[in-house]
């Protein structure tokens, strides 16, 4: 077997005696010195406050000047070195190790973050040293890394020059050796004129302004980029989701610590399905599946259960339609019920004391805040009159807190407060917006009770294209003045008005407490160990309609049985909790098996925006439905689907990118692939064909 690349007579060189072009040790030392020099240059430029773009300019000028000088001083030796294969190997190995360094040291963190990350490790001194002195915090944008790439570019170009002329079979060699320079040149051109900027575009509000986002704080959103001679409009935004899929997960390996294995077996849910559970002899049967269920169960006394005191109460409103429900003394979410007419609230508490009574009176908020949302971020500040906040394009100032509807004059004359709808009554906040672009001041009024109303009223005044909303928040406020409090320790029912007990009676099952004329509450049952006993039925509201997979709450009844003992346990599993969150699992046979029924994790399938490019007069120039993998490209501008606002479906986050050197990079990629194919496979074939012709 012959080999076209068999070496000529191998020459063995000593470690130090070999000439530079074949001496790996000297080459490594030289490359190290080259990198150290660039580290020093970058440190100097950093101290002088040079921007990254200026640093690249200095780097290119100084690097080319130095290499030019080197070739003038020792042309032959420099040429031999730069065109030697060992030097190519040294450079590529060092480049690979440099790339590797950047995958070991976390990139682009702050010095304080590096210190907390590495400072406590015994080996942490090395990465901290490299970050401090070798720019290892941003390896791939450091001048020494650029320096290595400059050398590789120069070497490959000189090799291409050395090996000329290029008859057809050798074209591949030329292509692969000019490819690195083309790729790097594309990156270099990209350093000048590269733009990446963002904006959250509102449907129907064209914009030509994007921001080069620097940080997470809206105060950092400076440095605007204007589209040259055209603007962008959002016609439609849409989130595509996968159909919800509910599955049953079986856990059969208890870990002895109250948990189970991390990889349960998952099952498609099908009524009547029966299977042996993995790694056990227990059998599971899916008795009943309800695609959209409601829990018609109730609390039951479970004497062996945990202490969970509850009262079953009947509220009689005098309209012949009593309301029955449970109040749980120890549940923060279920110890209070406000009568629908707002006349009083009832409560069940473990005990009643003076401090509780003092809280049961109307009082103002513990905190009042102005919540400012723009570009998907929310800032909350205390709403103190006179406070001002400055932003790149505008200023906001809190003017006044209004205890009630703030407008004195309406379109039909003076405002009569009693005629104002209750949702617009209550406190309002007055804010002044000062636009820096035209110096105009505009008043904004924010309604605490119905924020959506003031959102709509203020929308035309707020700066466009930022997705901006302002809300007035009041926390810890109490508006109720009358309470009926059932205490369990002394079985007393107390009526409290404005923080004072006005009447107290003992309570017992069946006993009625009259709050007011035609308004009474009866204790139906006391349950010291209340436990919820579910009983799922098909949702009567949706039974006759087509199921809505996004809002349905499926429930599943499962029986787990042990064929050895003949014992069986049946339980209901709902996919969702009453608040819509995924339900917890439950156990069978004293924790031997766990079953959980819930929606499979699903990410959105796609985000799609219909974008229109138009000129300043509104004439359409281009239109496309962009999605995550499919940007709109117009006059060198690539518009990407970037983010979205889960609260506002009329807003779409769009990123614009301008990258001038892209075509050069792709030309380099093409040269690399075609050149290598040519070298490895086409060249031998061409050679063979030529030899055949000669023969």
């Amino acid at each position: 077997m012959t080999d076209a690349t068999a070496p000529e007579t191998p020459r063995r060189d000593g470690l130090l005696s070999a000439p530079l072009e074949r001496n790996f040790l000297l080459q490594a030392l030289g490359l190290l010195a080259w990198c150290l020099a660039w580290m020093a240059v970058q440190t100097l430029l950093d101290r002088k406050g040079a921007t990254p773009q200026h640093q690249v300019t200095v780097f290119m000028a100084a690097g080319l000047a130095f290499l030019g000088g080197l070739f003038l001083a020792a042309r032959r030796r420099a040429f031999d070195l730069f065109t030697s294969v060992p030097f190519a190997i040294s450079q590529v190995v060092l480049l690979a190790m440099s790339v590797l360094l950047g995958t070991l040291v976390l990139q682009e963190l702050k010095w304080s973050e590096y210190k907390s990350l590495y400072g406590t490790q015994w080996w942490g001194g090395l990465p901290l040293f490299l970050v401090r002195h070798a720019h290892a915090d941003d390896v791939y944008h450091s001048l020494w890394f650029y320096g290595l790439m400059l050398l590789i570019s120069l070497s490959t170009l000189l090799v291409a020059w050395k090996r000329r002329p290029y008859p057809l079979p050798r074209l591949g060699f030329l292509l692969v050796h000019i490819a690195p320079t083309l790729i790097l040149a594309g990156g270099l051109v990209g350093k000048y004129g590269f733009v990446r900027a963002f904006n959250e575009i509102h449907q129907g509000e064209p914009t030509d302004l994007f921001w080069r986002v620097k940080g997470p704080n809206p105060n950092d959103w400076k440095d605007a980029y204007g589209l040259p001679g055209f603007r962008l409009r959002l016609d439609k935004f849409q989130i595509q989701t996968y159909e919800p899929e509910y599955k049953l997960y079986a856990y059969t390996e208890p870990d002895g610590k109250g948990g189970f294995e991390r990889n349960p077996k998952s099952y498609e849910v099908k009524e009547g399905m029966e299977e042996r559970l993995p790694l056990t002899w227990l059998r599971m049967k899916m008795d009943k599946v309800i695609p959209d269920a409601v829990d018609a169960g109730g609390f039951q006394e479970e004497p062996k259960g945990d202490l969970n005191p509850a009262l079953k109460l009947q509220l009689d409103l005098g309209n012949g339609q009593p309301v029955v429900g449970y109040l749980l003394a120890e549940s923060p979410a279920a110890y209070r019920f406000d009568e629908p007419g707002g006349r009083f609230a009832m409560m069940v508490k473990e005990r009643f004391d003076a401090s509780l009574a003092a809280q049961l009176r109307p009082h103002g908020p513990s905190a009042q805040k102005l919540a400012m949302t723009f570009m998907g971020k929310t800032l909350e500040h205390d709403a103190k009159p006179g406070t001002t906040w400055s932003f790149p394009a505008f200023e906001l100032k809190v003017v006044k807190l209004h205890p009630d509807f703030p407008f004195k004059q309406g379109p039909d004359g003076p405002v009569v407060l009693d005629r104002i709808p209750p949702q617009l009554r209550g406190p309002w906040l007055e804010v002044q917006l000062h636009r820096l672009s035209d110096g105009v001041d505009a008043p904004l009024f924010l309604c605490a009770r119905t924020p959506a109303f003031s959102d709509q009223a203020n929308a035309p005044i707020l700066p466009p294209g930022m997705g901006m909303t302002l809300h007035y928040l009041r926390e810890g406020e109490e508006s109720q003045r009358r309470f009926l409090v059932y205490s369990l320790d002394d079985t007393q029912a107390r009526l409290v008005e404005d923080g004072r007990v006005v009447r107290a009676e003992s309570w017992a099952p069946g006993k009625l407490f009259t709050v007011d004329k035609g308004l009474s509450v009866t204790v139906m049952e006391s349950l010291p160990h209340a436990a919820w006993n579910p009983a799922f039925i098909a949702n009567p509201d949706t039974q006759s309609k087509a199921p809505d997979p996004d809002h349905a709450n499926p429930a599943l009844q499962v029986t787990v049985s042990d064929p050895d003992t003949g014992k069986a346990e049946t339980q209901w599993l709902a996919a969702k909790n009453p608040d819509g969150s995924a339900a917890q699992g439950t156990t069978f046979f004293d924790g031997r098996v766990g079953l959980s029924y819930h929606e499979k994790d699903a990410e959105p399938k796609d985000f799609r925006s219909v974008l229109v490019v138009e000129d300043k007069e509104g004439h359409e120039l281009a239109r496309k439905e962009v999605s995550v993998n499919d940007p709109l490209i117009f006059r060198g501008h690539w518009f990407y689907q970037s983010n979205y606002d889960p609260k506002d479906p009329t807003v779409s986050g769009i990123m614009v990118v301008v990258e001038p050197g892209l075509w050069l990079t792709y030309l380099g990629f093409a040269c690399l692939i075609f050149g290598a194919l040519w070298m490895f496979y086409l060249k031998p074939w061409l050679k063979k064909r030529a030899e055949g012709k000669v023969a």
Binding site: M1, A18, L100, E261, L672, I673
Partner: protein, 308 residues
């Protein structure tokens, strides 16, 4: 061992059958390396090994295609799926080589490596099919991953040949009745040249993988290169194979050095595939495969933490 058994019990049947078939093929190849020919001159053990390898690969393909149809997307979103895909691509290449060239030693090593990959897949098994996030929902997904896995497979072949070249360097002429002649199906061979040829193919695929990845990234993330740790390791492996190719051309460097470096360089590929989760910078990568949550985060929808 119990954990592996538990994983096996919970596994999907097509995957389990694939695993069993590869195990049988491996045992048959192992036996075929030493089993004597029958009196009629036929090598039935080897014939059985080849058919078993082909059957295992067909089952591998069935598992993969079935998974793709069920998921409605290319079946290599998760680590588990990608390992099955590696078995399919690498197995496909090796089945082709085996049937064309009759190299039972390669069949033996290939089934061993695929068994290792699928055994690891058993450990990394998915609980269920995971849907694609928007960024992966692209026409570039299939070609990019396929090209890369072809690259991984070719350099894995080069790695195996490199080890053989290390053991048996230079032009070799084996006695036709010897173990080696039988194992490689020929008496004349130069493993060094074969290693270099497979490195070339692998290198081309790796380059194409980098470029298709870059093109996809330009459309999905706006940058053809974002210095993501996985991208960087893709570049490191490519650069190291570039070094290997150049080493074959330096007269002053013995060929055995190039061979040894090529064998070690395969370690970079293995790390790029298996080791990304161990990188300190893994949190800065958008390329890490989806996996079953590790034990310390073993909370599947609250059942573990909240179990009453």
């Amino acid at each position: 061992m119990h954990e592996l058994y538990a994983h096996f019990v919970k596994g999907e049947w097509p995957f389990k059958l694939t695993l069993i078939a590869y195990a049988l093929a491996f045992l048959a190849y192992l036996a075929s390396l030493w089993a004597p020919r029958l009196k009629d001159g036929k090598d039935r053990v080897y014939a059985a090994a080849r058919w078993l390898f082909l059957a295992a690969w067909a089952l591998n393909a069935y598992t993969l295609i079935g998974r793709g149809i069920e998921a409605g997307r290319p079946p290599f979103k998760t680590f588990y799926e990608s390992l099955i895909y590696f078995g399919f691509i690498f197995g496909g290449i090796m089945v082709a080589v085996e049937w064309l060239k009759k190299v039972r030693l390669l069949g033996f090593i290939a089934t061993l490596l695929i068994l290792g990959a699928l055994g690891y897949a058993l450990h990394k098994q998915d609980i269920e099919i995971i849907q694609l996030p928007p960024a992966l929902n692209s026409g570039w997904f299939l070609p990019h991953v396929t090209i890369y896995f072809c690259g991984y497979s070719c350099v894995t072949v080069a790695f195996v040949l490199g080890i053989l070249a290390w053991v048996k360097p230079g032009d070799r002429s084996f006695d036709p009745g010897s173990f080696w002649a039988r194992a490689i199906g020929t008496s004349e061979v130069n493993f060094e040249v074969l290693t270099r040829n497979w490195v070339r193919v692998g290198f081309l695929f790796l380059a194409a993988g980098l470029i298709t990845g870059g093109t996809w990234a330009k459309f999905a993330w706006s940058d053809y290169w974002s210095w993501d740790p996985k991208e960087n390791w893709g570049l490191i492996t490519w650069l190291m194979y570039l070094v290997v190719l150049h080493l074959f051309y330096v007269p002053s460097i013995p060929r055995k050095v190039a061979i040894r470096v090529s064998v070690f360089t395969w370690g970079f590929i293995a790390f790029t595939y298996f080791g990304m989760g161990y990188l300190p910078t893994k949190s800065q990568s958008m390329h890490i495969y989806t996996e079953t949550p590790p034990a310390d985060q073993g909370d599947v929808k609250g059942l573990n933490k909240e179990m009453y």
